[in-house]
Subunit: 376 residues, 2 copies
């Protein structure tokens, strides 16, 4: 198999770019003296995760217990499930720990802490729990100076569980696009999480792990004093949202969707392609950013960016490719039926999830099938 013989639409990974991206973040965090724990939700693909670990990553982050099960079966023991634990999932978590998985849970409330401790005691299991800290009002977590932080820590310890540390995710970093703003939100993520850890320790509670991260803050961080590990996911592929934020070049984006031109509406300057939102995802993450790429940036089959051509609209299995400036009346000659193009996605996590497998393209154009999974 090679690039030229793949059926379309297909999710394609440029393996050289992927290794470059993986090496870049690892070198940055090595230099800052912290461990790196990649988030596998972006690719859900053992081939990619093997490359991340070979480059120096220690353990993984998951967004579902299915990811934990799949990667534990693949041989990875050190896993943090970075979504607030809900009582009904404790049986699934227990089964993983009983099989030898060093699974860490997350809680940000007293009801969750009590439920974990009660279930753990009932089943003779000392769950390790990390407390989620809210560093930017983005989503979940306890404010670093809130008394609730200590109450939750104490409920876990008094309940017989292992308080493993604190965890934060500066999801609001996606809203910035200058080096200064990114460095500032990275420092806010670091300092608030470290402060939460200090509060726990001052209250006589253990807090060995201080875990933070998002792709923008991980790459923008200049100082990680007090942090023990960083988490990030999308950096391995990058995407147009990350490009608009300013943490990668278009030529760093390792994931694209290979597609074929199936028709035209010449007077409108449209080429119709066989990748619609089913292949790209419905993610319109660049819609409110500096540059709106529609459903994606058009490139040649070999990955060279075609300046002003984007997928401007999408139905389920149809995409409309057009020029962002004035309509290209010669588009049928430029991209005749059968022309193969590659589309860089807005959001690599969302686009990857639409595909049962990646096609990993080597420097010589050869294609390997890398399966990925989905569901819960």
């Amino acid at each position: 198999m090679d690039l030229q013989t793949l059926n379309t639409p297909a999710a394609v990974i440029d393996v050289g770019r992927m290794h470059h991206n993986i090496g870049r973040i690892q070198a940055h965090l090595d230099a800052l003296g912290v461990r790196f724990r990649p988030h596998v939700k972006t690719t859900k693909c053992t081939h990619v995760v093997d490359a991340q670990i070979a480059a120096g990553a220690q353990g993984i982050t998951v967004s579902t217990l299915k990811e934990a099960e799949q990667f534990f079966a693949h041989g990875i023991r050190d896993i943090v499930y970075a979504v607030g634990m809900v009582p009904a999932k404790l049986g699934q978590a227990l089964a993983l720990r009983r099989q030898g998985c060093d699974l860490k849970l997350v809680a940000d409330s007293l009801p969750a802490a009590h439920a974990i401790a009660e279930f753990g005691r009932t089943h003779g299991e000392r769950f390790e729990v990390w407390i989620e800290v809210d560093v930017d009002g983005h989503r979940s977590g306890i404010l670093p100076d809130a008394g609730l932080l200590i109450d939750v820590g104490r409920a876990l310890v008094d309940g017989g569980m292992v308080l493993g540390g604190v965890l934060a995710h500066a999801g609001s970093s996606y809203e910035y696009s200058t080096p200064e703003a990114l460095a500032a939100i990275a420092e806010q993520e670091r300092s608030r999480t470290v402060r939460a850890a200090a509060h726990l320790r001052a209250a006589g509670l253990p807090c060995p792990v201080v875990s933070i991260g998002s792709t923008p803050t991980a790459l923008a961080a200049e100082n990680l004093d007090g942090v023990t590990e960083v988490r990030a996911g999308v950096y391995a592929m990058f995407d147009l949202v990350m490009h608009n934020i300013g943490v990668c070049d278009l030529s760093d984006i390792a994931l694209s969707v290979l597609t074929t031109v199936i028709g035209h509406q010449e007077e409108k300057g449209w080429a119709i392609v066989d990748a619609g939102w089913m292949a790209m995802s419905r993610d319109r993450g660049t819609q409110r950013q500096a540059r709106d790429f529609g459903y994606g940036q058009v490139c040649t089959e070999h990955g060279d960016v075609l300046g002003d051509y984007v997928m401007s609209a999408a139905n389920q299995e149809h995409g409309i490719v057009s020029c962002t400036g004035s309509p290209d009346s010669g588009i049928a000659q430029r991209f005749p039926i059968g022309t193969r193009l590659r589309i860089l996605p807005n959001h690599a996590c969302a686009t990857g999830a639409q595909h049962p497998e990646y096609h990993a393209i080597g420097e010589d154009g050869s294609a390997q099938t890398w399966p990925r999974f989905y569901g819960w």
Copy 2:
């Protein structure tokens, strides 16, 4: 298995509502005297398609050749692949026809018609081809009065292929929301497609099939003179986009995502749930409609609509549930951790695609697993 024991997030089908929706469109089209060919891209699920055929549907519409392969393996022969044919996929289409599948192809250009005819002659296969007609400028197709229509028809017939008919899809029907406007676009879809068929016949070309359809126009059509069959897909499930268009009640929506409350930000009036965009899809189809439901309408576990509560934001595996009016400061008491909710989706095709299976809930709350497939 029953509703109460399903893991979350999960895609749930209310079987009673589904049968009601399937029966409604079938009765409407039976009364108008046309055949009905459901589009299986919405569910990609044999259980749903079996119910559609049991209700009277004749043949199916597919958006990918994988759908054709899967449903042909399930025993369905009469299939139209309603996406413009691209030369590289002709081998796959040929294999299906050689196995006995009555697969119909679609073309809207001379290059595609010539490619199909040439490939067919080379391999001794008389492909049946339908010509796509553009009835509303929405996407693909040839304008009904364009001379190109006759040229393509003649290229197919002279090339030794079977010209099976014309096919149109009034995708712009999604932009309307009054009965009058929907009836008008339905009539436009009908009259323009019938006119295209008349032009072909006047030129001495065959045109046995006149196929039109979208869920809004199929339900709004009052007269289908000259039409031989209608196609529609999302009607079996319905969704919030269809509700805003005005073709279903909220209580008709058969698909929802079951989710569990995992935390709160009380001062913001947020409940955090374990269904994010991975479970709902990134589809924001109601964003520009009369009522924006965010990522979905919140219901109780048993499917009763909870008025002003929507999923207002979503990350990959986190959803934020909030009240569209003023923040609900009592949300943690209203929806404690562990509360199970159901979220009606914006777009049933996109939400279903995120899930490996549906859980079909009967009147008694029992749950059956109905697998669905994805990919190409």
